[in-house]
Symmetry: C2
Subunit: 152 residues, 2 copies
């Protein structure tokens, strides 16, 4: 089991890099068929006539793959990767053959005023392919527990 | 085929409501196993000891189901539902037995200055269950084409 990180273990500027995952044409089409059945996510020929210019993964597929990388090999936060929301951007579409990884950085640490057992961190997470092309940027607040303190 | 909407067909305040989808325990666990394998998304007993207090869908699963509803029965935009990013919030977690629908509203319409054939709309999309509990809020910019204009 990986080391579990608490709020006290984290600092602004701390970085994390995940393992990688290969994006296949089959996986793009499978996700799209279920959750985002639009021509540019389902069919290469149909995609050529669209804004995408060729088969592209659903942005939500990129988001889901990013989460899988973060959970399996991202920051091992003590309560898991639990976010209440954030901002998401897809500067370029994920393509078949992309090998994605996630680079995370802690932008801020905010102890809770009302709940002394936890805090929030602001993480910026860039999902890049093997050529460094940025496919997704997420800036998200995550809940992180503090270490238990013995009662006085 | 549904009517295709162009930028000229839209106005600020215009609303859309999708069909509904039932969220099953099996679907929650299946999505989580692949994309978000954390105990509170995989196992009801394990989830009881967490912040969630019981089995909850991954936020990214809620996002994916929201997209499916938007594509199948949301606004029939002429170029499809194509977004470059936005803000996402999960005020409460999606639970097994939820019957989700999406309520969308156009908040702004922004013609492109550089590309006369298109514009952007800002859509606020609330994903609610059968009791009106808000599971997700997305505010997203979407690309919408203008109708082709005959050359002068």
């Amino acid at each position: 089991m990986r080391q579990r990180l608490y709020l006290e273990d984290l600092h602004i500027g701390q970085k994390f890099v995940t393992a990688t995952t290969l994006v296949t044409e089959e996986a793009i089409k499978e996700f799209a068929a279920r959750y985002d059945p639009q021509p540019f996510h389902l069919d290469d020929d149909a995609a050529k006539a669209t804004l995408f210019g060729g088969l592209a993964a659903s942005g939500w597929h990129t988001a889901a793959m990013t989460m899988q990388l973060n959970v399996s090999s991202g920051p091992p936060l003590a309560a898991g990767i639990v976010g209440g929301g954030g901002e998401i951007q897809w500067p370029t579409p994920t393509r078949p053959g992309d090998v994605l990884r996630v680079e995370g950085e802690i932008m801020d640490i905010i102890p809770s005023r009302s709940k002394p057992d936890r805090g929030m961190i602001v993480m910026r997470m860039e999902t890049k392919n093997q050529n460094g092309e940025v496919r997704q940027i997420i800036v998200m607040k995550l809940v992180v527990p503090r270490r238990a303190v013995a009662p006085a």
